[in-house]
Symmetry: C2
Subunit: 144 residues, 2 copies
């Protein structure tokens, strides 16, 4: 079911960042290790809290790392209905979506994406570097 194991995802992420001239610091390593382990999208604050159980880690550091990882294409955003943003480390060819519970914010992975046709339309409208975000929202079994 899972496209790539935690350690593979971590190795891939480290390789991509190195390739791009980034340095491997201990907060960065801790953040990526956590995200590779955790297979769900996380809020910046959650990442900081969990990383901080081992090493101190500033929120700004998390955000700056997320920026770098988004640019590098190894992190994917997930947007809550209220505009809050979650981050998820992804492997190669690992694009997917989620169904998010409105009440507890639990996310469940959905390994399906039908956006190709829509991206073609966007391209035909003159847009380049087309990408997309899609989120499903609902109320999960536990919260009903």
């Amino acid at each position: 079911m899972n496209c790539s194991s935690p350690s593979k995802k971590l190795d891939y992420a480290l390789a991509v960042l190195k390739e791009r001239g980034h340095r491997l610091t201990s907060p960065r390593r801790a953040i990526l290790e956590l995200m590779a382990e955790e297979s769900r999208p996380l809020a910046a604050e959650d990442i900081r809290k969990q990383v901080e159980r081992q090493n101190p880690c500033d929120l700004a550091t998390v955000y700056r790392n997320m920026d770098a990882c988004l640019d590098a294409g190894i992190v994917q955003k997930c947007m809550l209905e209220n505009g809050k943003i979650l981050f998820e480390l992804v492997g190669e060819h690992d694009h997917h979506h989620h169904i998010i519970c409105r009440k507890c914010e639990r996310t469940e992975r959905i390994n399906l994406c039908l956006a190709d046709e829509m991206e073609e339309i966007a391209t035909s409208l003159g847009f380049t570097e087309v990408d997309h975000v899609m989120e499903l929202y609902g109320v999960c079994g536990d919260c009903r």
Copy 2:
């Protein structure tokens, strides 16, 4: 191309709100008139600025009206990549998506939605009241 004319959309919105026991105040009327006229998603602040050219209108009033309209299903959210939220008045059976320019934030309507299959998956995972948001992002012809 356009599913419903401005005046129809406005009438529909007013009817739905009345049906739900809401009152028709002058800021509310002005907000809805503007949104019916404007066929694109707008930020709360944009709505306020434009409405204020005729009547004074507080930002909190805009947000509270958007809440009411979202509950009533006559307004649809549109999320920018940075988490900012735009609002768009929609008619009956008027669900659609957008391609949004990363640079100028211009939005172009895309009259296609392929989310049914994904919503079915979400339902099969035990979620109820399933809904979705999908946004395409790119760089438009003018900004390239």
